[in-house]
């Protein structure tokens, strides 16, 4: 059973426009969510996170929105740049202590076209 779902395997966006990556989860115990960015042949790098007590967290061009009632979160990138082209993974945890492993989605490949 896939607890974290990224239903769009790929997304193409023009440079300068907004990129919106979506993520749904099924486990209501999840209370901390993260986004990771991965380039080919490299390990993922942390991008942004949000705890369940918030509904929005912003860091520069990146904003994550959380809708707990819908069990849905999204990552907005504005404006999109060619260097943002990568695979983005959504991840979730039910224990902020850090001893419960993160559950990752399958990823969405973002292509930003110049």
């Amino acid at each position: 059973d896939q607890q974290v779902k990224q239903n769009s395997p790929s997304l193409s966006v023009q440079e300068g426009r907004i990129s919106i990556l979506n993520c749904d989860y099924t486990n209501s115990m999840f209370d901390y969510f993260l986004w990771y960015k991965k380039y080919p042949a490299e390990g993922p790098t942390f991008l942004i996170s949000i705890s369940s007590i918030k509904d929005k967290n912003e860091d520069g061009r990146f904003t994550v929105f959380l809708n707990k009632s819908a069990k849905h979160l999204s990552l907005h990138i504005v404006p999109s740049q060619p260097g943002d082209s990568a695979v983005y993974f959504c991840a979730a945890s039910s224990e902020f202590s850090g001893n419960t492993p993160l559950v990752f989605g399958k990823g969405t490949r973002l292509s930003v076209i110049a």
């Binding site: 901390y32 390990g43 202590s97 850090g98 990752f104 990823g107």
Partner: protein
């Protein structure tokens, strides 16, 4: 500062051969350690994690095993590789003390032929 080292970067192994991938973390103590695999179309699949020396939790039953002989060393092994073991293997660590931030290694591309 903390760093994570994972090697080798690429590996081509015949079916039935053994496997040993090593991961070490520097600059921290008692980290949580993880092995993930990224196979085509399957995202990041957790294989093993460890919250301390000798403590290994397995998430996926298969012909792989993991060991943590030292505090900052995590080893992924197999006695006999299968074609289905091909993939991109990633080691990661986290502080495990109220911090969910994972730091990943650079990965190992394993091709079983």
């Amino acid at each position: 500062s903390q760093t994570i080292h994972q090697w080798p970067a690429t590996l081509v192994q015949p079916v039935g051969s053994p496997l040993s991938l090593e991961c070490t973390v520097e600059g921290t103590s008692n980290p949580n350690l993880y092995w993930y695999r990224q196979a085509a179309g399957r995202g990041l699949q957790l294989l093993f994690y460890s919250v301390g020396i000798g403590q290994i939790s397995s998430e996926v039953p298969q012909n792989l095993s993991a060991s943590r002989p030292q505090d900052r060393q995590f080893i992924l092994s197999s006695k006999k590789l299968l074609l289905s073991d091909s993939g991109f293997y990633l080691c990661a660590w986290s502080p495990g003390t109220g911090d969910m931030g994972y730091t990943f290694g650079s990965g190992t591309r394993l091709t079983v032929v």
